[in-house]
Amino acid sequence: MVLHGFVVVGLVGLFVASVALLAAAAIRRPRVRVHAPDAWKSYRFGLATFALIFLAFDMEMIFMYPWAVVYARIGVPALLDMLVFIALLGVGVAYAWRMGALRWE
């Protein structure tokens, strides 16, 4: 029963991917090759620190979905549990911010 829904997901994915790839592969007229310089140039990696903080928060989000579903049934204890969790993460953001990790330039 659970898998039944995903049959549609699989079929839609298969169908769309096939059509789009066919559009790319089959409808191929001769192309004009446009010459442009290679893209290799230096990039700053301010993104890396953002990405690390993001990873921590994204993992937290995964825990929040099951929590959200059962929250209303459990009530106050669930709220307190999540507040502790959020407070710890809030401290994490504040620390990263203070240390300049949220600075791009």
């Binding site: 079929l11 903080i53 579903v69 791009w104």
Partner: protein, 306 residues
């Protein structure tokens, strides 16, 4: 719905939604010529051209993956109690995950095209993903908590039974959804990955049928974001005008709201988008979760479960 009708419905919804979003956005853009259209800019459908030094696999796969992600997300968007591709038990979570395929596609396409503008767009798109995912998740959590479910159909039913659209109980969450939805759809003021300064980024590197696939995917992306906003906050297909028509009107409303909101803010660079996200939107989102949690303890929206 059986498997075959569900498949046909989702394909039709992807194409129809893309056409509708494209037409509406085109019309709205005409009234705001100063705003960078970003991914809504015209693509070179009639021109068969490609950069000479592409990575053929990444480059060709990118538009297909973008459309793949959007169509998979549309599977769980209900336009009626039975009119839904598949009512998955993990619907809302599934939606968030598969829609991020678009971000992957822009990164692959930008990297694969291997021109300076496209690779720049690749970096910007990845940075934008880092900016929007967490606050978007925090905005979506609110309706999930009130509806006690991840199923999109059950979220609509919970709003209907409680007689409460979650936009009324969670205006902060709705505003957060509109802001992060604009980021997720690369619409103004967050058009940086498709900015005119880098000549449209990834789009400039594609022509012909592949450009058309990008066009469909990026328009359907905006439609999908708007439709999910209508499901989560505006009561979806249940409401004063029920069924697909009412859901279509609500989707249109959210779509117009996202596009028009762009004209009131100046364009944000990637650095500003990241700063806005982590210094403002994430703290607001965390506060909103606490706020919604308190409202639920007070019984708001919970009459659906008595």
């Amino acid at each position: 719905m059986g498997v075959a009708p569900a498949l046909a419905w989702t394909i039709a919804l992807s194409g129809g939604g893309a056409a509708l979003a494209h037409a509406v956005e085109r019309g709205l853009r005409r009234t705001m010529p100063d705003v960078d259209p970003g991914p809504a800019a015209p693509v070179q459908i009639g021109v068969e051209r490609a950069p000479a030094q592409t990575d053929p696999w990444f480059y060709s796969a990118a538009p297909a993956i973008a459309l793949f992600g959007v169509a998979l997300a549309l599977v769980v968007i209900p336009f009626g109690g039975q009119l839904v591709g598949a009512d998955l038990e993990v619907g809302a979570f599934y939606y968030l995950v598969v829609l991020d395929f678009v971000s992957l596609a822009i990164a692959l396409g930008g990297w694969g095209a291997n021109t300076p503008d496209a690779v720049e767009a690749c970096y910007r798109a990845v940075a934008q993903l880092v900016a929007y995912v967490v606050p978007l998740g925090l905005a979506v959590i609110g309706p999930l908590m009130m509806a006690r479910t991840l199923s999109t159909v059950a979220i609509v039913e919970a709003q209907h039974r409680a007689g409460l659209w979650y936009v009324v109980a969670q205006p902060v969450g709705f505003a957060l959804y509109i802001a992060t939805g604009a980021m997720q759809g690369y619409r103004a003021p967050f058009t940086e990955p498709f900015a005119s300064q880098i000549h449209g980024g990834v789009l400039a590197a594609y022509g012909g049928a592949q450009a058309l696939v990008w066009r469909v995917a990026l328009s359907a992306l905006l439609f999908t974001i708007a439709a999910m906003g209508a499901v989560l906050f505006l009561g979806g297909y249940a409401g004063p005008i029920g069924g697909p028509i009412g859901m279509g009107l609500k989707t249109l409303g959210v779509l117009v709201l996202i596009v028009l909101a762009g004209r009131f803010f100046r364009a944000r660079s990637t650095a500003e988008t990241l700063a806005l996200s982590w210094k403002v939107l994430v703290p607001v989102g965390l506060l909103n979760v606490g706020l919604v949690g308190s409202l639920i303890l007070l019984g708001v929206g919970q009459s659906a479960f008595r």
